[in-house]
């Protein structure tokens, strides 16, 4: 009771206060109370939660019209026509038959001429009679043949790495390797000019992607410094954020070489893990064909991972990654394209082993390749109105119009010339059509070339349209001279018309 009495006294005081309060104050208080009550009972803000009846639902389903699965591609689309019309009979060797016509092949990336080599075929045939064609399983489930292990071993030895891991498809190699290490929240610094396989790997990793300008080390350093500043702000996050640097040894889209010494320097300075995609430099650069690390005389240990495909220089199929054992082995459980795909057909692995034998035994192979590439580079540079992109030792050359964007008259003339559906399909890519004309011209004169094809809407950065010329070490001086004449003639003929 004692506790209640003061409370009643308080109540009495309050009552007194209410009676004595001015009217306007009371009205104000009452309004406030009404407002609170209204707020309490009013519905929380939410988008309209109407409940539809079954009939309405069915009507909605009836009404919905999805987009067609794919847009219509007419049968006479220029790309389709070009694919239909350029079918190779027999092997795409140095000299190949295309539509019944025998031509010199400067389109296939058969840099070391491995396709023409009989000993590789013999090795493949031998494996065929032992293993059959397919491996019938992923590596984990009886898809590991002894030849796979041998090839991995040989590749590791050749690259002077601790371990190598074999993939069954070149594209899947780097595209699986990147997401195996880099996860959500990690940071990847990438050159703008990287190939499509890397770009897909980046998307799959869901990491933070920071592109720097192609081969621009100052720009990379700027991004690294930015990252460093950010890390200082959030030291806890920085402690678990892995940083990667992904570059190509020899850029497929540009034909130039990455400045590896500088990249390695930045790697140690900013604690990045450097992955190099060497599809075009493996079996190409360096005195023994070990790629860009050998080219710059840098130990493989300085680089964290090297990935390359066996589809270019080696002349087989598949791809591989190599590096330190603890890094590479991780892919055996985490590389999607490794774990969940059937392994490389054993006969192709045997062929690749034989290719390695050839590469290791032929001392002068690479100097010959470099010499021929340089010669072709020199010859191509002479062609008026055209520009050769890339490094002179690179066996892929991109030949594009000297200044495509400035030459308006050229564009207008070309657009007039091409048919309507072609312009619909390509729009601004009239230059490509012009290059195609060059190619057709060259084809008629006995030289097969190909444009460098890209998916225009999906590439991060689109290089200028170009003709891609691949150097084959087996081309003789005469053949090179003939090819260069044909290329020069075709360019002059097509460009000279204006």
């Amino acid at each position: 009771m004692m506790a209640i009495i003061p409370a009643t006294w308080d109540m009495y005081d309050m009552l007194q206060a209410v009676i004595q309060a001015p009217t306007y104050h009371l009205i104000f208080e009452a309004l406030l109370i009404i407002l609170i009550v209204k707020l309490v009972f009013s519905k929380a803000y939410a988008p309209d939660k109407t409940i539809l009846t079954e009939k309405e639902k069915d009507e909605l389903i009836e009404e919905w019209k999805p987009e067609p699965l794919v847009p219509d591609t007419p049968d006479d689309h220029p790309l389709l026509r070009s694919m239909e019309n350029n079918i190779i009979t027999g092997r795409p060797d140095k000299i190949m038959t295309i539509n019944g016509k025998s031509v010199i092949n400067m389109a296939s990336m058969n840099f070391l001429g491995m396709l023409g080599d009989e000993s590789i075929e013999v090795a493949a045939q031998k494996a065929l009679s032992k293993y059959g064609v397919g491996s019938c399983g992923p590596r984990g489930f009886y898809g590991t043949m002894d030849v796979h292990l041998e090839l991995e071993d040989r590749l590791a030895k050749f690259m002077q790495a601790e371990e190598a891991i074999l993939y069954s498809y070149g594209f899947a190699t780097i595209a699986s390797a990147i997401p195996a290490y880099s996860k959500r929240g990690d940071v990847i610094f990438v050159d703008e000019g990287v190939c499509f396989a890397i770009q897909k790997g980046l998307v799959a990793s869901r990491s933070v992607i920071k592109y720097f300008k192609h081969n621009d080390m100052a720009d990379l350093e700027r991004l690294c410094l930015e990252q460093q500043k950010e890390d200082k702000k959030l030291p806890k996050k920085a402690k678990v954020t892995r940083r990667f640097l992904v570059v190509e040894g020899l850029y497929a889209k540009h034909g130039d070489i990455c400045p590896l010494p500088k990249l390695v320097e930045l790697k140690w300075k900013y604690k990045l893990r450097i992955f190099i995609e060497e599809s075009f430099s493996f079996g190409v650069l360096g005195d023994n064909g070990r790629g860009v690390t050998e080219h710059f005389n840098i130990k493989l240990d300085e680089v964290d991972l090297v990935a390359a495909c066996l589809e270019n220089a080696v002349g087989g199929a598949g791809g591989f990654c190599c590096g330190k054992k603890y890094i590479v082995d991780h892919q055996r459980l985490s590389g999607l394209g490794y774990c969940f795909s059937a392994s490389l057909p054993p006969m192709l692995a045997s062929g690749a082993i034989q290719s390695l034998n050839i590469i290791e035994n032929d001392q002068s192979l690479f100097s010959r390749l470099h010499q021929k590439s340089e010669k072709i580079h020199k010859e191509l540079s002479k062609i008026e109105g055209m520009r050769v992109m890339g490094d002179k030792v690179a066996p892929i050359k991109h030949l594009s119009l000297a200044e495509p964007s400035d030459d308006r008259s050229l564009d207008n003339r070309t657009i007039e010339k091409i048919t309507q559906e072609a312009s619909q399909a390509f729009g601004a890519l009239a230059i490509l059509i012009l290059l195609w004309e060059c190619l057709n011209f060259a084809m008629e004169r006995g030289l097969a070339l190909t444009p460098a094809r890209y998916l225009e809407h999906e590439e991060h950065q689109l290089p200028p349209p170009s003709i891609r010329i691949a150097v084959n070490v087996k081309l003789t001086e005469d053949e090179i001279a003939k090819c260069m004449d044909i290329i020069a003639d075709s360019c002059h003929a097509v460009l000279g018309k204006s």
Partner: protein, 545 residues
């Protein structure tokens, strides 16, 4: 839980009830809101559709968790001792480089070191010959408890092969397939060096594309040198941001990756559960995109024909009905079913007797039934034209190596009976007979077997990780090569062994396998099943002589 202990379980043949065989506790639970559809459908297929997923016995589940707990505990003790310097540090471990963030997450690395390494000997066993009905395993030994292996090429163990995906037995090193591949190797070499759009198409590729289209019964087809890439590199050309992908929860990694690369919204539905799919579809069409409620651009249902870990067969007739009702598109991955299913070997479409044109995207691989490598996509001319022009594969990746393409052509010709023999028919019937016979016998012996009665993939549940290792080791020792799969590839309590049947297996082979399985099964106590023996048998399958 009492029901669990009593082994009361819903593995009954389906007759009209759509989800009858799924029990509430085994992850395939019945979905609450079943919507009655308005169209009448032919339910005939359900009469012959029998699948079972017996649930994990409680005791087995408890012991499995204890097993994993123990392995993890010991792992931590080892790590502790390692840190104290009491154990020899293995060189395969990641070194600490000052300033660098560790490359691997702690748990991932822990799992590899302490769980996976212990059973690493049962995986990646090297094969030294053709993976046919019998294969040669090259002996390998480890001197450091599974960190590294050394091959001993002098010791070869020949085992009965129930691990390779060699459904129709075309993995051969002699016969017409090999001869043709050898001829093509001689004529074409082993590489093509160019993508489709960069002068990479040989006449053999055109021949293959046309043959695949004919085989599938579709207007056109495109072939890709890698099965995994067929999904991951083509799906982004079909759907994009603003579209919805409805994906079965147990879809293969390549489909998951492909879906992720599209940029579309991905939702999963319960494995092979049509109520779950219908609910998702209905919600998607009615409510549209989340937040904005604008309608989806398009909806793509992604399913597999035969699920390689469950042995289940997709309920295709029902999916086609739903897809039509809700105007969705259907992507069917027939990696494990093409060649292996159906009276003519043309996959699940053939198995259910449906028209292939009802499926928008028919995808499959050549690795399994055709004994080759690569994959295809088949469909309307419009679809294939689009892919030829816009697919990542046709622009950026080389075409199929010629001998690989030839292997598909030869084996497909045989399956179609175009070679003038009934070899193809014989293999198809033999595989069917083998599946039923093997499955019936396993059921009779009281093992828990997953999947459809006609599926060539036969998972046998082992539950405990210790049994996983023991089963594989003991089977191989007795001359049977099997695949065992555990966490993380399966749920933690659903560790299993998987047998893949082949037309190359004879009755004697299968009897031999059954004998070994029985022996090992009794040794490690695998007779978990409490359900009655199902009534199907192999008797109604006629073998072709």
């Amino acid at each position: 839980m009492v029901a669990l202990m009593n082994g009361k379980n819903g593995s009954v043949p389906l007759n009209g009830k759509m989800n009858g065989m799924h029990n509430k506790t085994n992850g395939f639970s019945k979905n609450g809101s079943v919507h009655k559809s308005h169209t009448t459908i032919d339910e005939g297929w359900k009469k012959d559709y029998w699948e079972s997923f017996e649930e994990t016995p409680l005791l087995a589940a408890i012991f499995t968790y204890i097993c994993y707990g123990l392995v993890v505990l010991i792992g931590h003790i080892r790590d502790f001792m390692n840190n104290m310097g009491l154990l020899k540090v293995n060189t395969s471990l990641e070194p600490r480089i000052p300033g660098f963030v560790p490359l691997f997450s702690t748990w991932e690395s822990f799992y590899t070191r302490h769980v996976f390494r212990r059973v690493s000997d049962v995986l990646c066993k090297p094969v030294g010959g053709v993976p046919a009905a019998r294969m040669d395993l090259v002996y390998r030994e480890t001197h450091d408890y599974g960190w590294t292996y050394e091959l001993n090429k002098d010791r070869i163990d020949t085992v009965l092969n129930m691990g390779s995906y060699n459904y129709l037995g075309f993995s051969e090193n002699k016969g017409p397939c090999k001869d043709n591949a050898a001829r093509v190797t001689k004529d074409y070499g082993i590489s093509t060096f160019g993508s489709r759009q960069e002068l990479g198409i040989l006449d053999i590729h055109k021949q293959l594309d046309d043959l695949v289209a004919e085989f599938l019964g579709v207007e056109a087809a495109i072939t890709v040198p890698m099965g995994f890439a067929t999904n991951s590199m083509n799906m982004p050309c079909l759907v994009s941001k603003g579209c919805l992908i409805l994906s079965d929860e147990l879809n293969h990694a390549s489909l998951v990756l492909g879906s992720r690369l599209t940029g579309a919204t991905i939702k999963t539905f319960k494995h092979n559960n049509m109520q779950s799919l219908e609910k998702r579809l209905r919600d998607a069409v009615i409510h549209g995109k989340p937040r904005t409620h604008r309608p989806w651009k398009k909806i793509l249902i992604v399913v597999e024909g035969v699920y390689s870990m469950e042995g289940s067969i997709v309920k295709l007739p029902e999916i086609i009905r739903l897809k039509k009702l809700y105007k969705a598109y259907l992507y069917l991955d027939e990696a494990h079913s093409i060649g292996a299913m159906g009276p003519r070997g043309r996959g699940v479409v053939d198995y259910f007797g449906l028209d292939p044109k009802e499926i928008d995207i028919m995808m499959g691989t050549f690795t399994k039934s055709f004994g080759s490598a690569g994959g295809y996509i088949g469909g309307s001319k419009r679809l294939i034209n689009h892919l030829r022009v816009n697919s990542h594969v046709s622009v950026y990746a080389p075409t199929m190596p010629p001998p690989i393409a030839q292997q598909v052509i030869t084996s497909m010709t045989i399956i179609m009976g175009k070679d003038g023999t009934n070899e193809g028919k014989k293999r198809i019937q033999q595989l069917k007979w083998n599946c039923r016979y093997f499955r019936r016998n396993l059921h009779e012996r009281g093992y828990i077997i997953y999947g459809n009665k006609d599926s060539p993939v036969v998972p046998l549940l082992l539950f405990m990780p210790t049994k996983l290792a023991a089963f594989s080791r003991e089977c191989v020792r007795r001359g049977l090569g099997v695949v065992v799969v555990g966490f993380p590839a399966t749920p933690i309590t659903k560790t299993r062994a998987r047998f893949c049947l082949s037309a190359a297996h004879t009755k004697a082979d299968i009897d031999e396998a059954l004998k070994i399985i029985e022996e090992v099964g009794d040794l490690i106590r695998l007779r978990y099943s409490k359900m009655p023996v199902p009534s199907f048998s192999e008797k109604d399958i006629e073998l072709v002589e």
